[in-house]
Symmetry: D3
Subunit: 107 residues, 6 copies
Amino acid sequence: MKNESFNSITMRYMKEDYPDLYDSIVSLNNSVYNGNSLSYKTQKLVAIALTSSTSDDRAIEKQMISGIKEFDLTKDEIMDVLKVVLLISGKPAFTKAVGILYDVLNK
Amino acid sequence: MKNESFNSITMRYMKEDYPDLYDSIVSLNNSVYNGNSLSYKTQKLVAIALTSSTSDDRAIEKQMISGIKEFDLTKDEIMDVLKVVLLISGKPAFTKAVGILYDVLNK
Amino acid sequence: MKNESFNSITMRYMKEDYPDLYDSIVSLNNSVYNGNSLSYKTQKLVAIALTSSTSDDRAIEKQMISGIKEFDLTKDEIMDVLKVVLLISGKPAFTKAVGILYDVLNK
Amino acid sequence: MKNESFNSITMRYMKEDYPDLYDSIVSLNNSVYNGNSLSYKTQKLVAIALTSSTSDDRAIEKQMISGIKEFDLTKDEIMDVLKVVLLISGKPAFTKAVGILYDVLNK
Amino acid sequence: MKNESFNSITMRYMKEDYPDLYDSIVSLNNSVYNGNSLSYKTQKLVAIALTSSTSDDRAIEKQMISGIKEFDLTKDEIMDVLKVVLLISGKPAFTKAVGILYDVLNK
Amino acid sequence: MKNESFNSITMRYMKEDYPDLYDSIVSLNNSVYNGNSLSYKTQKLVAIALTSSTSDDRAIEKQMISGIKEFDLTKDEIMDVLKVVLLISGKPAFTKAVGILYDVLNK
């Protein structure tokens, strides 16, 4: 999350056009993902859950891809997260996220 | 989560009045929190994040209390979760959840 | 819904202070709840579902009370609606709404 | 809803890979849509409303298609539901769902 | 907002098929955007914020395009709005809206 | 917004217990509300809209009070914002926020 989310085109535009804001986001990002008590992997799983529960397809896909690349998250681990999404955020959010997960894995 | 969330008055009413539905919820709950790949503790942290990001005060408080009782979650661990809530769900959701966390800890 | 939601203090303030806006809301409300194809009772059940899925306690309570008063909605009918809320919007939304339903019925 | 939502690719993957979870979802689904007091058709209308208010395009489309196939829901009946979505969930949710409805009907 | 949002295909369908409802929406729209105390431009900025915080891509894009056409909103002005979205609604909502803004500007 | 939101008990706790995170939030806050192109007052109005559309009572109240104190926002100006909330986020969000506005003004 630290690096990948700052390589998006959007973030590169921002870095160029709004460097102060960009720096603040990077600084906040670093304060958030600092592995104080929980591992960064656990925080990543939390991020996948939150994104699945509220966001658009691309954001969910990006979180899953980076989680798999950076932490070797397995299908089962992500499913353990999405099951909580099912219970707390409902079936459409769950089904959408599971569909994206299988797409990512089958690519 | 397994047990505590079924001890609420609401759930006891449901058990009496809608036993079939109650059983289905319990069954789903058990399939969700089965610690397949992630520990139940990690799933609990995910549940705290999702609840903080979308739900009402009592649900957030209940999740935090049960997480502290069942898994000895520390303030720092819960804060590591809420920091991700800040980044992904925004400052009001974060501030509300942090406020509830301090209330729970100061009781 | 037609009448009750315009008797709230808020709506009475609005009628006095912003009569044009008030009239537009009443007009929209009447176009919405006109029982074209579905009965107004069915629309009321839909309104209870939507309110339970996203809103605050008072709005949910108000919808339920007016549904019970105006259409003699039974506990079972409202539960049949809330069960769909459980599946689509998740357990915290469901639990909250069920709790409010029992509170309303036990008053 | 009972059948159609379990024929999606996602659900078929889940049946194979996570049979326990799959069974729990089917069981919950059956407890939800059991036509205790309200007809299953009314519950379907509620499901269309909730999905329109919070979910992505495909979920909304799926709910509408299955409602039209299984219950011969008419355009007017679905519009009576979406009108409540307009009032309670706002104009963008309404406009999106109306657009999908016309697409489904014009196919 | 006044005019553009009623030129969409969806709204033209509605005008034909549901003229009463259509008229109520137009009337509400006019009561909302009447520039009583705030300029219509400021209300447009508020509309961009709210749409970015909760809606789908097309709605966000439409709001931005009409804001640029009708009020000559600049990139910096819209960014000043989206920055508040970042703080209050979180990073995924912000990133999505910024991406759409750059797409609109680069067309 | 700059100052008031950091005087809450929650923020004071955070400053003591999580100074790094606190500093990042302050820094982001300053980058957000920097009055580049829009006035800070306009950004405040946007913040009131976003908070009204998604958050809890206390957050809405806090935003309104600080907007009235810092910028002499009038009832009519805030109503012009809430009218957009009505159209885009629906009637329950609007009614709740209007209720809070009148409470704040009548205190």
